[in-house]
Subunit: 199 residues, 4 copies
Amino acid sequence: MKVRNLKPEKRAAILKAAVKVFARSGFYTSKVSDVAQEAGVADGTIYVYFKNKDDLLISLFEDKMVDILQNFRDALSGIVHAYKKLERFLYIYFEMIRQDPLLAEVFQVELRQSDKFLKDYHNQNFLDYLNIIGDILHQGVEDGIFRSDLNVGVMKIMIFGAIDEVARQWILGADAKYSLEEAAEQVSKTILNGIEIKL
Amino acid sequence: MKVRNLKPEKRAAILKAAVKVFARSGFYTSKVSDVAQEAGVADGTIYVYFKNKDDLLISLFEDKMVDILQNFRDALSGIVHAYKKLERFLYIYFEMIRQDPLLAEVFQVELRQSDKFLKDYHNQNFLDYLNIIGDILHQGVEDGIFRSDLNVGVMKIMIFGAIDEVARQWILGADAKYSLEEAAEQVSKTILNGIEIKL
Amino acid sequence: MKVRNLKPEKRAAILKAAVKVFARSGFYTSKVSDVAQEAGVADGTIYVYFKNKDDLLISLFEDKMVDILQNFRDALSGIVHAYKKLERFLYIYFEMIRQDPLLAEVFQVELRQSDKFLKDYHNQNFLDYLNIIGDILHQGVEDGIFRSDLNVGVMKIMIFGAIDEVARQWILGADAKYSLEEAAEQVSKTILNGIEIKL
Amino acid sequence: MKVRNLKPEKRAAILKAAVKVFARSGFYTSKVSDVAQEAGVADGTIYVYFKNKDDLLISLFEDKMVDILQNFRDALSGIVHAYKKLERFLYIYFEMIRQDPLLAEVFQVELRQSDKFLKDYHNQNFLDYLNIIGDILHQGVEDGIFRSDLNVGVMKIMIFGAIDEVARQWILGADAKYSLEEAAEQVSKTILNGIEIKL
DNA sequence: GATGAATGAGCCTTCATTCAT
DNA sequence: AATGAATGAAGGCTCATTCAT
């Protein structure tokens, strides 16, 4: 009658540690024992809460994606105008990055690895995420706000890639020396400019 | 003094094999022996031509980047107008992807990994590449073709991210079902639309 | 002083579960948690009743051996003739196997493992068991029923090995397709034939 | 063009070391690194020659079994009389044990473990071995030398078990204090006595 | 006593790299 | 230069055991 009574806060602590460690060293060069140490638990405890190292990364992704999706849906639900919606979406995106850059790095840097992840592991949450953008674009086209020749399938990916990379370079702090606010405004203006119907 | 008598064609064969293998399985999950097998050489031969596994990936990147940069410079040298230059740049970009998707995948998927590469290893070629875009943008702003409030540092990265992701999803063939031609046109139109001065 | 309030029926349940699990998967490839699950108790409970995993196997053996020995002694006590005694012994042996094949498999398969058990752990019960056979043989020789040149030390082991293996192959059900009844009769006839004095 | 050029003598050395180590400590409590050390090679070398630890045990068994089978066939080929054949078989058996007790212990003690081995892994060599005995019995029955009511399927297993256990206890040196010569003679006499037709 | 989450020692296995041929 | 057998460091994962509840 084994009743699983795992502590959600310990699971969360491990995920949080994993974010930190993976962001610092990358998934493959990170050791499970590094995550354990960061989380202040024994190595074996990781395996009480996660199936294996891969599962740690996937869980990380899925867990947070659910929150993110909810975040976006809540924030956008009250807005009717597609233009305003997209503007708001972009604002929220960069705001989230600002608040949790480590996590963002794990998402962006690590989940790009095809094998085992975005390739094999088919990711519904990621598709849902893309479709938030897609839905806004669709609506905008229907409402006659965005260009009628927009290929939404292409555009949603383009927008994702654009903001993702701008955020990523900001996090890495490498070449790009700009504030996220500035970036958000620039990206927002250009994209909205680029897709709206010109008068 | 050790006189090296290395055969450039063998080096090239190994790099070509590395592209294939890394694209298929990812850098970390690929084995040096996989690359050797694909190249038709012995494991040890890899180490005659490259210092280690990391060097293989970096060499891959640098070698090809030099070609790519030359490609762009040649193609853009005859064009004076910034708008046409950017249009041409985007066209060439997607054309390259179409011709060598495997290589593109290695670039895009694997070089995103921070550790040891884009983070520690400071990549001048990548910066040069970004600056091709940057230079076009600068010129366009100076020529009064692109919006004067463009933050070129943000925009060049945004454009890179946009086209990179569109190409990447096309390669992965996952959600995105579109032709590269269609994508090129869509991306081109939106970006140019977005950054040019509205009349 | 710690006053133990252990429930004998729980201890028995654990041992019974251990028999099942060890027989199914072997001692080393079985997990303590498998035994716990099979017994319907928590992992930790095993350690309330047994010192460790090894102790579980040894207890299993010793507990059951006491029963088995008593069984044999009861059954043989009324028989005077050595020939009849041995005949009866063999009959009872196969009958026990038939009634509890799982346990038999644990005995036969697992206790063969030298390390920690039959080698280090000196097993008086096993010796007592062998000596039931040995005593019958001794008596038979003294009574002039069995060959006077019998080396009882060898013969008791030979008989043990013979019946053990016949039973074991029957349990495994591998190559051997025979009924235990048939086997018992064959073995009995051959052994008795082989050791009795020829007229 | 990777040409496997593994050295058979190194493979043999590893197997020999494995015999020693497994006999000493048992398969499960032995470490691969113990075998490597005993063989004087690096841990990794084991995996050049064998797939994994299990494969080491199975290879051990199969390799030696082939030799043993050949040994028996050669030795028995010149003998026509079934009685003499069986007598010779038993003599050779104990002689082999005497010459290589360690190997015998691995066979007898370790291969009894059901899981992964005699159970899952279906073993043709073992069956061939049993059938050497079986064939002699068959012939003896047909030639009117052995009892016509012999169930060969039971008897071959009984004989195997008998000699196996006698040898095993001799190796363990536990309770049984007898010479192998004495044992061979005792077992041989009893079995032959037991199965031949009484006049 | 019973529980099961937590522990961490230990081991198999992988694979980048070396080096004798 | 080319080879590939050999190496051994390193790490993911298991699971017997403990102990706070």
